[in-house]
């Protein structure tokens, strides 16, 4: 067995690839398209089913109308998610054959299970969307549940691969540098990094979807569309997002502690910490310079030790402990990390505003600025999402499998990466435009008569004194 493996990996020695950076950017671009789309696959089914359930229980038409319309949006975004995901699975081989040849068997199982998850999601989303009025309402509602479950297992499995890349286990490397004694189940579920990453991503999906949908209706709200239908469609996703946003800070802290434990150099990169320090400070903003200091930063004493280890005097490992060759691109990671945390804090503050007004006054905030902030929150959440992935992925560099395989050993030896990159970028632009166009069409479709009648009498009345006050 050992000789066979030796023969197998010896045909994949590292190659010269002048365009490693382009390959990485191509991968990054594809994720930046796929991941926001799949947030809808993860979080949207639950919202749609909830609406349908409300409609069934109360017998009121507007809930069902919302669920119907959302289900069209859901299947459009699902289709875009499917193609971008298909491209991603191709890219694993097109860009990183060295990685696949050495480790495909270690993490492959996760994708194997993932494949079934995709099947279930595709089948039941279709049944759900085409099944309106074609099955008894109860069965229709039930048919949405497997789609919801598959969204959860799908993201769980793919995150398990990423967590494994961050904290690899489930295999040994022998003296000749070959991967031996593969234990796939251990690779999949045997690492502690999975759970914080999974939970953090899952909440991120709810935040992106919740604020994203609420934002669309907030635009209408500011233009005076405030009837029962619009109010319900805004308030339900907003409620979920506003509870998830503060929770995300807690879970982010858990993620950070996992990073501190498994990848100390990544943590040092987040903070630009050169020297190993006892009671390390946290530096906000600023730019990491050649002479290993941070210019223009704001220092908060002992904060980093506090955050990473919940102990103000804990020792935090610095970048100096590894050769400079093993450092990620420090400023990229720092800026991405701070963007995510900044946006996350902002979203939590917005949520606090909403919850406060709700508990004190039993109503929505009346300030226009609240709704403007909600409109902004959707795109901001997407930015945080991508920034988070940049933090994770770029922060792991130069390793593709942390401290086992370098990205340059993983890359393809093929010519023409730059050409493929150009084609792909153009295709993504076209895909996004087409998706956008279809969503606009869905949004403009006329309402069923009973809903249209409902909306002709907005029940919120003219702007009240409160609102004018808040605007001043």
């Amino acid at each position: 067995m050992l000789e066979l493996l030796a023969a197998a990996s010896s045909s994949f020695p590292p190659v010269d690839q002048d365009y490693l950076l382009e390959a990485r950017q191509m991968q990054a671009l594809s994720f930046a398209v796929h991941i926001p789309l799949v947030c809808f696959g993860v979080a949207f089914p639950a919202l749609v089913i909830f609406m349908e359930w409300l409609g069934l229980r109360t017998g009121k038409a507007h809930y069902t109308a919302i669920a119907r319309r959302w289900s069209k949006v859901m299947i459009t975004l699902f289709a875009a998610g499917v193609v971008s995901g298909t491209l991603l699975s191709f890219e694993l081989g097109l860009l990183w054959p060295g990685f696949m040849a050495s480790f495909g068997d270690v993490f492959g199982l996760a994708f194997g299970l993932e494949g079934f998850s995709f099947f279930i999601e595709a089948i039941f989303i279709t049944i759900y969307v085409y099944g309106w009025d074609r099955m008894s309402p109860k069965r229709h509602l039930l048919s949405g549940i497997p789609a919801m479950a598959a969204g959860i297992t799908g993201s769980l499995l793919v995150i398990s691969v990423n967590a494994w890349m961050n904290s690899p286990s489930g295999f040994d490397v022998n003296a000749a540098g070959e991967v031996v004694n593969v234990r796939p189940w251990e690779a999949l579920f045997g690492n502690g990094h999975l759970w914080p990453q999974m939970t953090h991503m899952y909440l991120a999906a709810y935040i992106v979807v919740g604020f994203g949908i609420a934002g669309v209706y907030a635009v209408g709200w500011l233009r005076g569309r405030r009837g029962t239908y619009f109010r319900t469609a805004m308030v339900v996703p907003l409620a979920l997002a506003c509870l998830a946003a503060p929770t995300q800070i807690l879970i982010g802290d858990w993620s950070a502690r996992a990073v501190a434990e498994d990848q100390p150099i990544k943590l040092a990169t987040f903070e630009g910490l050169y020297k190993t320090t006892e009671g390390a400070p946290e530096t906000i903003f600023g730019w990491y310079t050649e002479d290993n200091t941070i210019e223009y930063g704001i220092e908060i004493p002992k904060m980093l030790s506090m955050l990473a280890y919940h102990d103000p005097n804990a020792t935090v490992q610095g970048l100096e402990t590894v050769p400079e060759d093993d450092w990620p691109a420090i400023n990229v990671v720092r800026i991405a990390f701070q963007t995510m945390v900044g946006i996350g804090t902002g979203l939590a503050a917005l949520a606090a505003w909403f919850l406060f007004v709700w508990f004190r006054r039993k109503r929505l905030p009346r300030s226009k600025w609240f709704f403007r902030a909600v409109i902004l929150a959707g795109p901001a959440a997407v930015v945080a999402l991508i920034a988070g992935w940049v933090t994770t992925e770029v922060g792991r560099q130069p390793w593709v499998v942390y401290q086992v395989m370098r990205t340059e050993e993983a890359v393809t030896g093929a010519d023409g990466i730059v050409f493929g990159y150009g084609v792909l970028a153009a295709v993504y632009v076209a895909l996004i435009i087409a998706t956008w166009w279809v969503l606009r069409r869905v949004a403009r479709a006329p309402f069923p008569p009973e809903i249209a009648a409902l909306e002709r009498t907005p029940d919120d009345g003219p702007p009240s004194g409160d609102e004018r006050e808040a605007e001043e």
Binding site: A8, S11, V15, L56, T58, G59, T76, A79, V82, V83, S89, F90, L92, G93, L94, A101, G104, G108, L109, F111, G112, G115, F116, F118, F119, I120, I123, T126, I127, Y130, D133, R134, M135, P137, N181, V182, P184, W195, T199, L203, R231, A239, L240, L243, A244, L250, I251, D253, R257, H310, W358, K362, T412, G413, A414, D415, V423, L424, V427, R441
Partner: protein, 402 residues
């Protein structure tokens, strides 16, 4: 048969399923080329309606094949993808075009969409066919981009199989759509597809025969495998099933035609497997490429579990589609059914307080525990209260203006 060969069989089954199911969906737009005006529009609508509910599920078969390949034969996967990146990228582009077609036709019939879809009905089958051809002709050496960037997939065998794939997809689509049009009572359309199916079937058969001759010149090992022993049996079964399909089409027995066409495809793919064995790539046998036994067993276990869930789900979907339940204007069941109505009430104070307490405990546990059961219990409590709280909050928000 050894354990290392079992996943190859899974891959071949996956490929056969992909060719039969997704092949029909790539071939369908091809036929929009053959008619203009009213008939053209009718063909486009029929195509969209027949395929839109199933295309996503059909595509997962491709992912399935890729995943089995990279899990069990990582080096084969990596060699093929690094050498053949151009056709593989082309195939992907075709898949995207087709998907955009479904998305857009879902809201509106736009002619430019059909231009894209038609291009994809050439590009994707051709590109994937050349990839198969490159493997058959032994043009992909093991290694990181070790084969030639162009001749690896632009050789006679590859081109031949690429063309065969185009005609085969068009043929499968016509057979499927002929039956579908009759099921929905569109006799004229059904006849149109029947004629097209007969022509496409004849062309596909012809290309197949020429293909065997090309293999003889260009891919001797596989040619020998296909013309002797078990490989020959498979080819003969495929030919017989092909003839049965043509006869059933001619006799308007579309349900038989559909299954025999699938059988013809499955048989030829089985024949390919038998003829190609034991080498997957030149010098790289199934045995030597395979991952260790516990990886294979892990995969087989997960596939078995997956199939237990997948098969009933697929049967449900195809049952609904073929039973006409998703046809536009189909009868609606239970739409008028009355459900007990209740007013939404804000949740009880006691429940809110309980939720807040659980949330507070959960947050504290998550924050203070570094690892172990305390941490996981805390996170579980946080998530439960998050969703419970979300539902309650939504209830109370929407009930205030009922």
């Amino acid at each position: 048969m050894t354990l290392a060969e079992v996943p190859v069989i899974l891959m071949l089954i996956g490929i056969a399923a992909y060719v039969v199911l997704a092949g029909a969906d790539f071939g369908a737009p091809f036929w929009s080329l053959t008619a203009r005006g009213e008939r053209g529009k009718e063909i486009r609508t029929a195509t969209h309606q027949a395929m839109a509910p199933v295309w996503e599920a059909n595509h997962v078969w491709l992912i399935f094949v890729l995943v089995v390949c990279w899990t069990v034969y990582p080096e084969v996967f990596a060699s093929i993808f690094s050498t053949l990146w151009i056709p593989l990228l082309l195939a992907c582009l075709g898949i995207i075009m087709r998907a955009v077609g479904y998305m857009v036709s879902g809201v509106e019939d736009r002619p430019w969409v059909w231009v894209l879809a038609t291009v994809s009905s050439f590009v994707t089958p051709f590109a994937l066919g050349t990839v198969v051809g490159a493997t058959v002709a032994g043009e992909v050496p093991a290694g990181n981009a070790a084969g030639d960037l162009f001749t690896s997939w632009l050789n006679p065998t590859s081109i031949m199989i690429g063309i065969l794939a185009i005609t085969l997809c068009a043929y499968l689509a016509a057979v499927y759509l002929a039956g579908d049009a009759r099921r929905t009572g569109r006799q004229g359309l059904s006849e149109a597809f029947r004629t097209r199916g007969l022509v496409a079937g004849a062309v596909t058969g012809l290309v197949g025969v020429v293909g065997i001759a090309v293999l003889n010149e260009d891919a001797g090992r596989v040619y020998d495998g296909l013309t002797s022993g078990a490989g020959l049996v498979a080819v003969l079964i495929s030919a017989a099933a092909g003839l049965l399909t043509m006869a059933s089409l001619a006799a308007r027995r579309f349900n038989i035609a559909r299954f025999s066409a699938a059988a013809a495809v499955a048989a030829v793919i089985a024949g390919w497997g038998l003829a190609q064995e034991p080498e997957m790539l030149p010098g790289l046998t199934i045995e030597s490429a395979a991952a260790s036994d516990n990886v294979i067993i892990g995969l087989l276990v997960s596939v078995a579990i997956g199939l237990l869930i997948l098969i009933p789900s697929l049967l449900l979907l195809y049952g609904l589609v073929l039973g006409g339940r998703f046809d536009p204007g189909g009868e609606s069941t239970g739409a008028g059914e009355k459900t007990p109505a209740f007013g939404l009430k804000p949740p009880r104070v006691a429940i809110v307080v309980l939720t807040l307490i659980v949330a507070a405990v959960g947050w504290t546990l998550t924050f203070v525990s570094d690892s172990g059961p305390g941490l996981y219990l805390g996170v579980a409590m946080v998530l439960i209260t998050l969703f419970g709280g979300g539902v309650m909050l939504a209830f109370s928000l929407i009930s205030t203006d009922q």
